[in-house]
């Protein structure tokens, strides 16, 4: 699915240069479930953002479906991202002024999909994550777990082949965290590639492979045989 080759990302702020990623080489196959772990500030979010094409690397190559996107412009990246990648954030990132259904529909809004089809797909995905009864509610009226389920629904409604999740359970209690992990696992079983950043080893256990980062380097990669 994607391959990172000698990928480096450096932030330059007021004379200080922070190397967030240093010579990272990673390959992720289609249908994989990968967890990224590491201490705070080691570059996990940076890596995820680059994989998600929200950010561009300073140097190195990023092959997405055999296409080197490292030098692509923002709008070129936007087109690919829109087609293939869905996001889930630690802080949910729902729009406060829109209802649950509208928040989910947002993922289809910029895809040239007729309104009727959009509504159908939103209804279907809400059923799937179990928040159909909250369709008309505002995000502020939901619990954290419910909000994250809306975010998951939003990430999958566009039928993207890869979902990137940055600490999706970070703001949730154990029970709700579990719920979300099970949902991700189910999606993975249906064929969606998932890359997830997490601090929780137990949640990392859901993944088939864990990548450990330290100061911008990949330190270990461990495969798990399926239970």
């Amino acid at each position: 699915m994607l391959k990172l080759q000698d990928l480096t990302k450096a932030y330059r702020t007021d004379e200080v240069e922070t190397v967030a990623l240093n010579n990272v080489n990673i390959e992720i196959e289609t249908g994989e479930f990968v967890a990224i772990m590491g201490p705070s500030g080691c570059g996990k979010s940076t890596l995820l953002n680059i994989i998600g094409m929200l950010d561009t690397p300073s140097s190195g190559h990023y092959f997405f479906k055999d296409e080197d996107v490292a030098g692509y412009s923002e709008s070129q990246l936007g087109v690919i991202r829109k087609q293939h990648i869905g996001f889930i954030f630690q802080s949910f990132n729902l729009i406060d002024e829109l209802t649950v259904a509208e928040n989910i529909e947002l993922a289809l809004l910029y895809h040239d999909i007729p309104a009727a089809e959009r509504r159908e797909r939103v209804a279907a995905v809400m059923d799937k994550v179990g928040i159909a009864h909250r369709a008309k509610h505002m995000p502020s009226q939901l619990s954290g777990g419910q909000q994250q389920r809306v975010a998951v629904a939003r990430a999958v409604v566009g039928n993207q082949s890869m979902i990137l999740a940055d600490e999706p359970t970070g703001n949730l209690d154990t029970a709700h965290g579990q719920e979300v992990m099970e949902m991700l696992q189910k999606l993975n079983e249906e064929g969606t590639t998932i890359v997830m950043v997490t601090h929780s080893p137990s949640h990392a256990d859901y993944a088939r492979r864990t990548i450990n980062l330290l100061d911008g380097h990949v330190v270990t990669e461990s495969m798990r045989s399926k239970i």
Binding site: D55, K82, I95, E97, L106, A107, P139
Partner: protein, 827 residues
């Protein structure tokens, strides 16, 4: 202590939010400055003649002649003999005086001057409290050879010398007399319709050979002021005017036996305080104002203030949400709601105070230009209560703009605002804000359309085809004076001979100035009492050639054709001969003379002399001219005859080619050589016509300027709001971009957000402007078509959208371009 804390925190807040504060202060400053400027104008307009100690008792009479088949002729003057009958018939009258302002030649030590001299009756000084400086004002007007001068004139004539006892020779044409300066008075107030520079008593017998001045019942050449006895009611006089007229005025020679003079003549007295803004009619000595203008500008001032206050409110409530955390924290730390309200109101008032100081600076910078445009001398009087008013205004705006945000902010509940992921702002306050933006734009668009209509109408009037060619005509004035008239043929001849002169003529009127001379005219088919009152102008040879008016039929007066003037004295002696006359198309229709070609050669009878003399002269129609827009465009063209006047005129008009300066200099040389005693006084007809629109032009410019300011203030607010909204929506926009929205999608979203209120504002503004401006246009006889207003509405809509877009676009682009992870990172 606490107050100090509030002030410091307010001051810090202003600095912390530089953009908001700058927009707020600057917007307020512009709004307040506009308001102050308009208030100065309005106050001056409303102050006219309010300062006389007897102002409540002083009245001026106006007269209207309503002749069947003609527009009523309203005069703010009164026939000369009315004063005597008034004093006899109305015991309610305490004092009465006429004022006739003339421009005689004044000779002092062989030096010649031309100045305004007011001829008044003795009681003038009992009606109006003048401030004497030297001499004895109380007896000054008792002698017919005394003069009272204002300090201004005394200084002009005698410098620093004591003027009392000095002799001034005044040549009134009717008579020439030595006047002794008996009193010097303070210059009279500018905001007065009776402002005069010099006073002499009316000597009626001396005007016998110009009896229309003070002794003709159907001629108006002076104002009549009177003061009522205390306790008397003006209604008792106004209601008995018809009887007064029938008792005193001679019977009019038309209308037949069943009619009374009061059927055609209407008189009314108006309080002096109302004259400047409400008097309507010809014959004012000073420029008058217009109540509508005062109302319109007051409205504009209030609207601008509202727009500025809305900005203030919107920006403050918008900012309120970003301060929600601060407020909540303060509350948690023990601040009461009252404390918070005081804090936020304090901030508002501090901002308004800064805005006010800036406004005063702006006003001081703008005043010179403003005064020039309006032809006034306005200023802020810092020693008086002006500053108090301005401060009150600022506090009022500060409270108005600050109270709502203070209320909103202090209302935040910490439990809600401190909770993450909860928008601090209620939907109600967002809704209110968009309603206020709609109001701002509706007002701005209405002002825009109104300005366009006012300007359009003015340009239309200025450029309307007058029926004559006003360009390249030099008008030489002061011709009516005896010394000049004696040399009229010589002057005309000499000017005609100048190489650049094309055609020269003379007349008893300037084309743009009002003319209210009327004469009874009938055809052979009409009885004497069916004679029709027709406007009468006197012209010399080659008049229509000089003004480039093509005749419809016949010819104009030519010296070589032997056209004759009929002298009234000849008629009195029984001498009978036929004169020549030129009529306009309206007169042709009113008299029933048929087609222009048919009218040539027909006879008409024109009455001469005083009413009652029953003198008629016979004229042959020799020419027909089209209806020409002499006078102002505010009146319809009347039926007119153009009578030949070979030896009298008040203006010589010369059409020239080449340089106007060189030609004027040539004529000036001739004048100074022939008539050294009277200063050369000239004008260009095009300039004189344009001058008619000076006041309108000034007001239209002022209107346009204030409309622009209103729009500018509204845009400032919109800009602030846009940058706030963009800031508030960064997270949302980040999410949308992650979801696949392109930069264009985002810009579209933000721009639509601000287009919606503008479009709704248009829906409100269009009908309002269309209705009011149609109403306004109705006061013009010649006006632009109503569909122009629709055009202006469309233009306003497009302009408003473009302005709104360009105001918002910068921010939108910036926000749309930003990398979404930045927005989503720190949540």
């Amino acid at each position: 202590m606490l107050l100090n804390n509030y002030l410091i925190s307010a001051w810090r807040n202003i600095f912390k939010h530089k953009l908001f504060s700058a927009i707020n202060i600057f917007g307020l400053a512009i709004g307040l400055a506009a308001c102050i400027l308009i208030a100065l104008f309005v106050r001056d307009e409303l102050s006219y003649d309010k300062f006389w100690s007897k102002a409540d008792q002083i009245y001026r009479t106006h007269i209207t002649f309503s002749v069947p088949g003609r527009d009523p002729m309203g005069m703010v003057m009164t026939p000369g003999p009315v004063i005597h009958a008034f004093k006899k018939d109305f015991p309610q009258i305490e004092y009465a005086s006429r004022i006739a302002r003339l421009k005689p030649t004044i000779i002092i030590n062989n030096q010649y001057f031309v100045d305004d001299i007011s001829l008044v009756d003795e009681d003038f000084i009992n009606i109006f409290d003048l401030e004497p400086v030297t001499g004895d004002l109380s007896t000054a007007l008792k002698s017919l050879s005394n003069i009272a001068l204002t300090e201004k004139l005394a200084k002009k004539y005698f410098g620093t010398d004591n003027a009392i006892g000095k002799v001034i020779t005044i040549d009134f044409d009717s008579y020439k007399r030595d006047y002794k300066v008996a009193a010097v008075i303070k210059d009279m107030a500018k905001n007065s319709q009776v402002n005069a520079d010099a006073l002499v008593a009316i000597d009626e017998p001396a005007w016998k050979d110009q009896d229309w001045m003070f002794d003709a019942w159907f001629s108006t050449n002076s104002h009549l002021f009177f003061s009522l006895n205390k306790g008397s009611d003006i209604k008792s006089i106004n209601s008995s005017m018809p009887e007064f007229i029938d008792r005193n005025f001679p019977k009019l020679p038309f209308g037949g036996s069943g009619t009374k003079t009061s059927d055609f003549v209407y008189m009314n007295a108006m309080n002096i305080k109302d004259l400047h803004l409400k008097a309507k009619g010809d014959g004012e000595y000073h420029e008058i104002g217009d109540m509508n203008t005062v109302i319109i500008f007051s409205t504009v001032a209030i609207l601008i203030l509202i727009i500025a206050a809305i900005n203030f409110m919107n920006l403050s409530t918008a900012r309120a949400s970003s301060r929600a955390k601060e407020v909540s924290l303060r509350k948690v730390l023990g601040a009461s709601r009252k404390d918070l309200i005081i804090q936020f109101l304090g901030e508002s008032i501090l901002i308004t105070a800064l805005g006010m100081i800036m406004a005063i600076v702006l006003v001081e910078f703008a005043l010179p230009l403003y005064n020039e445009i309006l032809g006034k001398n306005l200023s802020i009087d810092y020693a008086s209560t002006d500053l108090v008013y301005v401060t009150c205004l600022a506090i009022f705006v500060g409270l108005l703009g600050g109270s709502y945000p203070a209320f909103i902010l202090s209302h935040f509940r910490p439990s809600e605002t401190l909770k993450a992921n909860k928008s601090a702002e209620s939907n109600a306050s967002i809704k209110l804000r968009s309603i206020l933006v709609i109001v701002q734009f509706a007002v701005s668009i209405t002002l825009f359309v109104s300005t366009a209509v006012v300007y359009g109408q003015m340009l239309y009037a200025k450029n309307m085809d007058l029926g004559y060619d006003k360009e390249n005509i030099l008008a030489v004035k002061e011709v009516y004076r005896d010394i000049v008239l004696k040399k009229l043929p010589l002057l005309v001849d000499e000017i005609r001979r100048m190489p650049n002169a094309i055609s020269v003529t003379w007349s008893n009127f300037m084309p743009e100035s009002g003319n209210n001379n009327n004469t009874l005219v009938r055809t052979g088919d009409q009885a004497m009492e069916d004679a029709i009152l027709i406007g009468n102008r006197e012209i010399g040879y080659d008049y229509f050639k000089t003004y480039k008016v093509p005749l419809i039929a016949g010819r104009e007066y030519r010296i070589e054709r032997g056209d004759k003037e009929i002298l009234t004295d000849d008629l009195r002696k029984g001498l009978k001969y036929t004169g020549s006359i030129i009529v306009n198309e309206s007169a042709l229709r009113r008299l029933g003379l048929g087609s222009a070609e048919n009218a040539i050669g027909k006879m008409v009878f024109i009455s001469k002399g005083n009413p009652g003399e029953n003198l008629e002269a016979t004229y042959e129609v020799i020419g027909v001219v089209p209806d020409i827009h002499f006078d102002s465009l505010k009146t319809t063209i009347r039926p007119e005859i153009y009578d030949l006047s070979p030896s009298y005129g008040s203006v010589i008009s010369a059409r020239f080619s080449g340089s106007s300066v060189a030609f004027t200099e040539q004529v000036r040389k001739l004048w100074e050589q022939e008539i050294p005693s009277i200063p050369f006084n000239y004008d260009f007809i095009s300039a004189a016509v344009a001058k008619q629109y000076n006041a309108e032009q000034g007001q239209a410019t002022m209107f346009a300027a204030f409309s622009c300011l209103a729009i500018l203030v509204a845009c400032l607010g919109l800009y602030g709001l846009a940058s706030y909204t963009a800031e508030r929506r960064t997270k949302e926009i980040g999410i949308r971009k992650v979801m696949g929205a392109s930069v264009f999608d985002v810009v579209k979203l933000l721009i639509w957000q601000f287009s919606k209120p503008v479009l709704i504002a248009n829906l409100i503004a269009w009908p309002v402007s269309f209705f009011t401006m149609t109403l306004w246009l109705e006061s013009f006889v010649y006006r632009i078509e109503g569909f122009f207003i629709l055009g202006f509405c469309l233009l306003a809509a497009i302009t408003a959208l473009i302005i709104a877009w360009s105001t918002v676009a910068g921010n939108s682009m910036r926000v749309a371009r930003a990398n979404p992870i930045k927005a989503l990172r720190y949540e």
